[in-house]
Symmetry: C2
Subunit: 243 residues, 2 copies
DNA sequence: TGTACATCAGTGAACGCGCGTTCACTGATGTAC
DNA sequence: TGTACATCAGTGAACGCGCGTTCACTGATGTAC
């Protein structure tokens, strides 16, 4: 029994060191990503920074793409956590759903501004010849969920008063966004789903334009503008705002 | 006089051949861009495709970055032309401004879907270490102008009936978007400028999400969804729609 | 119309670079008895 | 507690690759008289 424990501990010492270095490699890669972008990520450069010989990295990641995938997955996780935390805090503070929306979208933007290269990895131009790992869809959904949550909650409790929306061909539109509707809950009307997706596109657009440098000489105060945009969306969605 | 003409013609034969090859190089580079993306663009590969030796390209472009810049500038020009043409046609057809908006935004999307890598060049993640040529700002403005035109015209002629917009701190907001306001015309109120920029972000967002592959398993009918989004925007802007 | 010269497009070899990945190895750490 | 063996992290040299860019050159095209 004691011996068994010693064994486990011993083996897990090795494992712990291994996990630590695996993590450290990822962190250095993360820094490199921030400096050079995804295509500039080089195993040799990462190894150099760690004081290791390039081939040593192959004990931890089978190849460059695996490292990049780990990086992407990590970025997704970090984003999801960040948005979920903000959402949970706003929820616990019992803010009106419109204000929860403001908090959660601000968290999305803050993460993007804090980690522009990671944002580019997720929402920027796809890296040619590289296929993102399948696991990302789950984390992606977590982000979307956190953003949508205040809206869905307001809808469920009847506090949503959406402004009149253009009369699109409702059934065709519902068909177009069916996968999302099924994922969310069948009880949410197709039009609200479409509205949510519109808001989602809006968020990604306004954040990407800022992060990718398109506001230079255009929008002098990005946070203020983002706030305005987000509030406009809240109103479009019919979310109850404070004051 | 005749001799002078002969001289000019002769020299312009050479010049014409030169211009033609310069153009042909750009076209091949364009194809490569579509296959490999911006970072994968290689002088050697382009030369290979043209049946030339790599160093020969240096007679036409001083280096790789210059070729990429030409490519980018070309993409901007193509986009601007495409959107402007659509706008002019819609204007001549005397459609209500809301429908002009629909036409012009659809042209923006169509171009993006037709040339996804060029779209990525303009609105995707910035290529690290590469500074876009300054000339692009003018062409960028042409695109923005073409999109904004129906809205500004409707505003000028008093046919714009914007839905009530959240009461942001109006002066702070105006300050935030001042450069755009000054560029457009001083007579357009700051709130409308902000609204326009919001619509612009929305357009870029919804198109980028589609072009970069984020609608997979989410939005089954991107054109229909885009149409819906664009119409929602038209309404938000208060543009008069047909029917 | 014919000749001497200048221009310039394209060639071919070479440079130095950094990359991802492999492989046989050394030596430290952990395991079994 | 001590010894023989197994595991495995990290080394160092080497591979082949494609890249951007340079440079002296050849030979065709255009120019001047």
């Amino acid at each position: 029994m004691v011996q068994a424990r010693v064994m486990t501990t011993a083996s897990s010492v090795r494992e712990r060191v291994r996990a630590e270095l695996t993590r450290e490699i990822l962190e250095v890669a993360h820094v490199h990503l921030g400096r050079e972008g995804a295509t500039g990520l080089s195993l040799r450069a990462v190894a150099r920074d760690l004081g290791m010989v390039p081939s040593a990295l192959y004990r931890y990641y089978p190849n460059r793409d695996a490292l990049l995938s780990a990086l992407i997955l990590d970025a997704y996780g970090s984003l999801a956590r960040s948005v979920e935390d903000a959402g949970a805090a706003a929820h616990e503070a019992e803010l009106p759903e419109g204000e929860q929306w403001m908090v959660v979208t601000a968290a999305l933007r803050a993460w993007a501004v804090g980690f522009p290269h990671e944002w580019a990895l997720i929402f920027g131009s796809p890296v040619p010849g590289y296929e993102a790992p399948q696991d990302t869809v789950i984390v992606y959904a977590r982000v979307a969920e956190a953003i949508a949550h205040p809206v869905l909650e307001a809808h469920r409790s009847g506090r949503l008063t959406p402004s009149p929306v253009p009369r699109a061909d409702a059934s065709a539109l519902s068909d177009a966004v069916r996968p999302v509707a099924e994922f969310l809950v069948p009880t949410v009307p197709g039009e609200l789903v479409a509205l949510l997706l519109t808001a989602w596109s809006q968020l990604i657009g306004v954040i990407s334009l800022e992060v990718f440098g398109h506001w230079r000489n255009t929008v002098l105060d990005p946070p203020a503008f983002f706030d305005y945009t987000s509030r406009t969306m809240a109103q479009m969605l019919g979310l109850p705002l404070g004051r």
